[in-house]
């Protein structure tokens, strides 16, 4: 069984099966759920895709980035321009959004990744502000008025399928040679460069993949809301995505999934509180950080936890049989 799973062809077929299943199930769910819940689900998926990208940069590689919304906006505008002005099909537009954001990630990554810690954080933040101001003053993006007339092509199954693809690729990446190198950089950059890891290369890799995810998320976002403006991608958007990653547990993919669900749904669940909503949301962030400082699933190895629970029930059964 194990040997069979190591075969790449089997893995690939399994991957396709999972994708097909996701598309089928989410399509079925999409028919049943009311539009409001479906919209929340859609935004959970979009936030999840972007948060997984940031998780690779901040959670796995340990580089604090406060400018993720910049890549999101680049992806959103690039895809919107592609589909509206050049009539590129929707999925092509999403791909273009991801690739352009990725390109910017690499271009920005080369100079800024020399910086470490908070200096990197402020440089990425500055980059995001510059991008936002630039979009506000550009003709092709229609400036501060906003980009109108994007088709609402994003559907729930598409978002969920892309989210599942992202999750699978991230798990695969984390367990690969590259992923281990990135983890080593997070733990100790100097030590990992001493054992021959090309730290700049892997940091740029993480940055590029993270930016790609953000760009894809931005493209999906643009084709959901059908209207984007530069203020959609301000500092608070970067903070939202970062909160998902930190709240879920840095570096933990299941944590990021739970963080995306909790933090996207929370403002909607709190809606009955009307004017007190954001106040409660702020307090919620503080309380979760106080009681779970390493995130909801931080420090929890899910695979081990599941195995342990499984073993326990097995042992109990064995005990009973005796």
């Amino acid at each position: 069984m194990k040997k069979l799973l190591d075969n790449w062809l089997v893995q690939f077929l399994l991957f396709l099966c999972v994708l097909g299943l996701t598309a089928f199930i989410t399509d079925a769910i999409g028919d049943v759920l009311p539009p409001y819940l479906l919209m929340i689900g859609l935004f959970i998926g979009i936030n999840l895709i972007m948060a997984l990208g940031l998780n690779l940069i901040t959670g796995v590689t340990g580089q604090l980035s406060l400018g993720h919304a910049a890549f999101m906006s680049i992806g959103a505008y690039a895809s919107a321009i592609a589909t509206v002005n050049y009539h590129v099909p929707f999925l092509g537009g999403v791909l273009i959004g991801g690739l352009v954001a990725c390109l910017f990630g690499i271009v920005i990554g080369f100079p800024t990744l020399r910086l470490t810690g908070d200096y990197l954080a402020i440089a990425t933040l500055g980059f995001a502000e510059i991008v936002r101001v630039q979009f506000t003053n550009m003709k092709i993006t229609n400036g501060a008025i906003g980009f109108l007339g994007i088709q609402g092509s994003t559907t729930f199954p598409i978002v969920m399928t892309i989210a599942v693809i992202t999750i699978i690729l991230m798990v695969w990446l984390e367990n690969s040679r590259n992923g281990r190198a990135m983890l080593a950089i997070r733990e100790d950059e100097i030590a990992s460069s001493a054992v021959g890891i090309n730290t700049t290369l892997y940091k740029i890799q993480a940055f590029a993949i993270g930016a790609f995810c953000a760009g894809v998320g931005g493209a999906l976002f643009a084709h959901t809301t059908t209207f984007i403006q530069p203020t959609d991608f301000g500092f608070m958007k970067s903070v939202d995505i970062l909160s998902i990653v930190v709240l879920g547990g840095l570096g933990s993919i299941p944590g990021t999934v739970i963080g995306a669900i909790v933090l996207t749904a929370a403002p909607e669940i709190l809606r009955p509180l009307a004017n007190y909503r954001m106040m409660v949301y702020g307090v919620l962030l503080v309380i979760i950080m106080i009681f779970r400082p390493y995130g909801l699933l931080g420090g929890v190895n899910l695979r081990k936890a599941v195995r342990r629970a499984f073993m326990l029930t097995k042992k109990k059964q064995a005990g009973r049989e005796e």
Binding site: A121, G126, V133, A191, V239, L250, L285, V286, P293
Partner: protein
């Protein structure tokens, strides 16, 4: 020499704006120096100070000094309370969780203000008449004199406090090595509380000054001001007090310069562009020390 006059004029404008940024940046840099966390709520404390000043100014008995002093006291208390409630319980855990907690606090404060005072921009009542002085060929308003004067005095006071008092010495000791300082009998909790009080007080003062200067107060004013002040603190070398002053003034000057050369749509980007450029050539800021890292 119209160009030179214009330059002097912009220098004065930039200095006034830079003074405000520098006051907020001092709070960032002091807290960072001592507990190594980015207190993102400072922008909101600045906003809170502006509102406190506004509320005080609306009562008829108050002049500008009592408004400044009152707002400073209120924000000092606010800063200490925030530290006790939101940061102290997670002081030992990762810096990122403290960052998220700070962001939670800042979301709370700005939405609290929206709830209490409404989301609209409010004007600031005139606490004293604005006059314009002509020196040579450039003008300086009394508002600018007050801002530069108050900011300068506060920085001088802070410098004297940190250099010559016992508490100041304790703060410097904590910045160097918290554990060693605690072994020498320094009460760390008190030092951190005092740091938060001073930093928040400075931000509150800056809030009132900004309210008077721009004649506008609104619940989200703290976000961009806080970000720029943070940029100023990093530009100067985060953790360094003179660095924060220099950084604040540099950011203020570049912003005014951006407006002068007719690129005012880009003025918010200017500060960050300069910041990134400086960081590329001097990765630890203007006055920052290069930390030796060991494995």
């Amino acid at each position: 020499m119209p160009i030179l006059n214009n330059l002097m004029q912009q220098l004065v404008n930039g200095l006034a704006l830079g003074g405000i940024y520098a006051l907020i940046a001092l709070g960032y840099t002091m807290v960072y120096g001592i507990i190594g966390m980015i207190n993102f709520a400072y922008g909101e404390i600045f906003m809170f100070g502006a509102y406190a000043g506004l509320v005080l100014a609306l009562t008829n008995y108050v002049n500008v000094y009592t408004a400044l002093l009152g707002a400073t006291l209120i924000t000092m208390i606010l800063g200490v309370v925030i530290e006790r409630v939101a940061y102290k319980p997670i002081r030992r855990s990762s810096r990122l969780s403290a960052l998220i907690s700070a962001i939670g606090v800042s979301i709370f404060l700005s939405s609290f203000m929206v709830r209490v005072k409404g989301p609209n921009t409010r004007g600031f009542p005139t606490l004293f008449e604005n006059r314009i002085f002509e020196i040579g060929n450039f003008q300086i308003t009394i508002y600018q004199i007050v801002i530069i004067g108050v900011a300068g005095l506060m920085m001088l006071g802070l410098h004297l406090f940190v250099t010559y008092t016992k508490m100041g010495r304790a703060m410097r000791a904590c910045a160097q090595d918290k554990d060693a300082a605690s072994l020498m009998g320094v009460n760390i909790d008190r030092v951190i509380s005092v740091t938060f009080a001073i930093g928040s007080g400075l931000a509150g003062t800056a809030g009132v000054l900004a309210g008077i200067y721009f004649n506008a107060v609104q619940p989200y004013m703290g976000l961009l001001a806080g970000l720029k002040a943070f940029a100023a603190a990093v530009l100067g070398g985060i953790g360094s007090i003179p660095g924060a002053m220099i950084g604040g003034i540099v950011i203020g000057l570049t912003e005014i310069l951006g407006i002068t050369v007719n690129l005012s749509e880009y003025k918010d980007a200017f500060a960050f562009a300069i910041l990134i450029l400086v960081l590329l050539f001097k990765p630890s800021g203007i006055m920052g020390r290069k930390a030796n890292k060991k494995v």
